[in-house]
């Protein structure tokens, strides 16, 4: 990776729980020399990707991203396309839904819609990065990803977020195969306890999977009927997105009848 990549990776140190980071911390957390960090941060700062907040001189994400995001949304009206689809899905199932994208080798939450029907909901935050192996979205995307990404993801340590998290790469590989066959991914309590989620892949124009639409509900609420409904809604929503996104939804003719069987 080049210098630019290293600089950009420093941006990943800023998270919701750690929105501001000092120079020394940046060096420690990233493992990069402090002088180098300083130079890189200065460069990011010059463009406005980060800014320094007085008086501690800690860094945080800068205002330039606002302009870029506005420009992105203007060129690719992602959110505006995604929102109505999500709205329909939540309306139909009564459960919360969200869309996450594969960006920079990570699964990132792009947009979500809460169901209003129930008091208990699955709460997610914007700008969150999801683990591949412990979420239905991650699994759905990984199942349709190239072998390179699969190997890389399954090669690194897979933390168990709950007792239900599957952490064995071999067993996950088998699940990915199943996911490809059935067209959707399922995760029960693997990310957070008592969360049952179903995710279906969204494909770009070239047929590569770049996102997933997921529906999540409290596990205790998921009856077989609701589960069927969630699966159908996820597949439908994902295909909607694929279409609006300019891709061609996969043939599910052979699958859907079986599911309905």
């Amino acid at each position: 990776m080049g210098t630019t990549g290293k600089a950009l990776e420093l941006l990943d140190l800023f998270t919701r729980v750690r929105p501001q980071v000092g120079l020394s911390d940046i060096a420690r957390l990233s493992g990069v020399n402090k002088a180098t960090c300083h130079r890189l941060m200065t460069e990011l700062q010059a463009y406005g990707l980060v800014e320094q907040v007085e008086p501690t001189r800690e860094y945080r994400i800068g205002p330039a991203v606002l302009r870029l995001a506005a420009l992105r949304e203007e060129t690719v009206p992602y959110k505006s396309i995604v929102q109505p689809v999500l709205a329909e899905v939540t309306e139909r199932t009564g459960e919360s839904a969200h869309v996450s994208m594969l960006v920079g080798g990570r699964v990132e939450l792009i947009s979500f819609a809460y169901a209003l029907r129930h008091g208990t909901r699955v709460i997610l935050h914007d700008a969150e990065t999801l683990p591949f192996h412990a979420t239905s979205s991650g699994l759905a995307i990984l199942a349709h990803a190239g072998p390179v990404l699969q190997k890389e993801v399954l090669g690194r340590p897979l933390p168990a977020l709950t007792p239900q998290t599957e952490t064995d790469p071999v067993r996950i590989r088998a699940r990915l195969e199943a996911i490809r066959v059935q067209g959707y991914a399922e995760s029960v309590g693997a990310f957070e306890h008592d969360v049952h989620s179903i995710a279906a892949p969204v494909f770009a124009s070239q047929g590569d999977c770049i996102a997933a639409l997921a529906i999540a509900a409290p596990a205790t609420r998921v009856t077989p009927e609701l589960r069927d409904e969630m699966i159908a809604a996820a597949l439908k929503g994902a295909d909607d997105l694929t279409l609006k996104w300019g891709g061609r939804p996969p043939e599910r003719a052979a699958l859907t009848p079986i599911a309905a069987y």
Copy 2:
């Protein structure tokens, strides 16, 4: 400037009117060698700051900015702070208002609110970069900026966007002085014909001017009374922002009475 800076500058080639650019164009527009461009774009792409759209393989702003923007908004709720202030300003004056920020040496439109009262409005787009010398926002910011930025901005060519645009650096310098004294900047038809705008500076916690709040109206509609109202509203709104932003609004005690006089 280092490599990272050059890479980030390539992002500026993407605008609303030119949302997608091919590799050769990038090289031409930026003046950077094509091979270098390719490497830099590849690096930006790896992080998701840009993406390639098939089948032309043109580049465009990537999805990573969405996550960053969400994170930014979570850490610094800029827009959510700005919106109510803008709403109040437009409510009070009946004219459109917007806030622009100084980021990376440019004036960028961050947020805006349209007035609903009139049919004719001043239309601006999100993610727009404003010229320093031809907008009240730009002038307000420049007037309170450091000498380095002033010199740099006034040193480069100042295009005349309308016949009313002031392009003489010396005369602009004089205006900046006046703007500092009176506390607000005014621009009549200098950016677009028939647009009269008033802007007041917003200060950060360290006393440096980092943004401006502007009110824009069709010039033909601006009576002396409306103009006074616009000035008062801009100053008030800007000071509000400065406060909520954690800064200390400048003393205007000596000024406001004079305006009301």
